[in-house]
Symmetry: C2
Subunit: 335 residues, 2 copies
DNA sequence: GTGAAAGCGCTAACAT
DNA sequence: ATGTTAGCGCTTTCAC
């Protein structure tokens, strides 16, 4: 029993009738629909999706490229994407672009081969991957810079307000009285890191402070916690009273390093991050950070993609608004 | 250009020749193989996976059921699974069983419908899900109790040494001199939590201490950090000098709660977890915990599944050995 | 070394 | 309300 023909035989109807009945097509009488469905579930029969999509030309599959499964930033995003996708009857084919640059091309190729109905690229330093993608299928880029998003049909993006968020955070630190504020960027080319730095410098200038380039460091370490630790090491000689890190993971690594040097947070030095990971409110002291509505972002991305799959081509970038979460890692500077 | 027929026409050969050429079948001359492949990549052509799997009866797809994308426990596991799967040319169709119990049936159904070649169920309190699965396709259960794993063909499992790990951890605390050791379990039925409790009690008995039921608490909160916090609240009146938590997330929540009550860790109270999440070495103080080789576990699970897909039916449970990571959250009790 | 033909399991027109 | 037929795009015998 693994085709509709067999079921049709058993039910004493035509295959096409079974096909329709199984999809609850109203052209089939309620009675036979029920009968066929009962027979199917009794026999544990499910239509073969491959055969189905061969005729319908839709796979009901969304390809998701995620930077790394182990990056806690992605979790809620995935949850949001899945929620919206599932609600619309779509499944997720997931691939991570973890490290390996080469692999992106492969991912793109597999997605093509599988004829996914659309693609979501999450939080990538993977920006180039969409260049390998089939231009006929819709793509949504999450947390990508508009500058990197080609303005072409079926390509949409969701922007995080990095610059504005960083400005807000820096203003928070300025308001507390800090004047020596460091920024820890990340090494590999990251427009998000650049944008956050721009917001940081902008806030300083608005406050009449000329940004001191020695207060901006770009660690070489590849892991985020390492970036934070190295950032602290590079920055401490400049005697900052507050350090703003590219993201929470770096901030938590930095926090660890600062504490290990015997400094007290926030009494002697303030620490701030960006992202608001679930863990950030649990570290000691709880981290002041900019929250990103990641669950909603995932949902928005998936919904936009579904709209594009449905034929809509609204490409206006979506925007995720960040919210300042003031916790205990920031306080006025020591006198 | 979206079928092999068109390509065949352009190449001036038969479709079946293209089919073979594209798969590098040695029966086709090197010359035509090269020509066809060149033509294909030039035209951006890829074979339709649906059509392909309709004939071959393989989808090269592994269905993965993961408890929750946002659970940091799963990240490395997924990474391991993907690494092994990709290496063998398989893709991952991922679904989370986040909360909603009902959904498992749906996931099972979609996996059936899509004819995935095998299924990996990760870290589930989702244990019943395999009951809905097609008995003809291989399944690997990760971090499941053998007791819950039906002994039937094509069902394999990877066991975490919960009891032994918990015993080791408790012995560590005993060795430090603790006598009043609390255990924070989790509310929802969890054999892992039960097993860890058993190991904990066993170690106590071995040390000549009769386990005190009042030192074991089962919080009601649903989120892990909340479980930890509530556990602390329930346990503190019993004046434990050390608390062993079901897992790291709970331990970190508990750590937060203990510190918020003005207690110093580890000077006044020791804290221990289980799992060794990436974050656990970054909290303050860094957490003493049992490490699970999660990356390898993922890899092992996938490799076993691939073996089963390949026809092997070795069902002997695989075992993940845990390692004690002594960090700064544990120390001798105060006098 | 290459080709012709049948069939994988389904859906979509088009009958009836 | 149901049945017939012709594909969807591929692989697989089996011929040549």
């Amino acid at each position: 029993m693994d085709s509709i023909y067999e079921l049709a035989r058993r039910a004493g109807v035509a295959p096409s009738t079974v096909s329709k009945a199984l999809r609850d097509d109203p052209r089939i009488s309620v009675a036979t629909r029920a009968r066929v469905q009962a027979l199917a579930s009794e026999a544990g029969f499910t239509v073969n999706a491959a055969a189905q999509s061969l005729t319908t030309r839709r796979t009901l599959t969304i390809g998701v490229i995620v930077s790394d499964y182990a990056d806690p930033y992605n979790g809620l995003l995935m949850r949001g994407i899945e929620a919206a996708a599932m609600a619309a009857g779509y499944q997720l084919l997931v691939s991570s672009a973890h490290e390996t640059g080469v692999r992106e091309v492969d991912i793109a190729r597999t997605f093509r081969q599988r004829r996914v109905d659309g693609i979501i690229i999450v939080a990538s330093h993977v920006s180039e991957s969409h260049e390998h993608l089939d231009p006929r299928i819709p793509v949504v880029l999450v947390a990508e810079k508009p500058a990197l998003v080609p303005d072409r049909p079926l390509v949409s993006c969701l922007i995080v307000e990095d610059e504005a968020g960083a400005r807000t955070m820096t203003q928070h630190l300025l308001t507390l009285g800090h004047r020596q504020i460091g920024y820890v960027a990340i090494g590999r080319a990251s427009l998000a890191s650049d944008a956050r730095r721009a917001g940081y410098e902008d806030a300083l200038r608005q406050a009449g402070i000329e940004p001191d380039p020695r207060l901006v460091v770009v660690p070489n370490r590849r892991d985020m916690a390492g970036v934070g630790a190295e950032g602290v090491q590079l920055l401490l000689p400049q005697r900052p009273t507050a350090i703003f890190f590219y993201n929470d993971l770096a901030a938590i690594g930095g926090l660890r390093a600062v504490i290990d040097r015997g400094l007290r947070v926030p009494e002697q030095i303030s620490i701030a991050g960006f992202d608001d990971l679930e863990i950030s409110q649990l570290v000691t002291p709880p981290l002041t950070t900019m929250a990103q509505p990641r669950l909603d972002m995932g949902r928005m991305a998936a919904e936009r993609l579904l709209a594009m799959i449905g034929g809509d081509d609204d490409r206006t970038p979506m925007t995720a608004v960040c919210t300042l979460m003031v916790r205990r890692s920031t306080a006025p500077p020591p006198d």
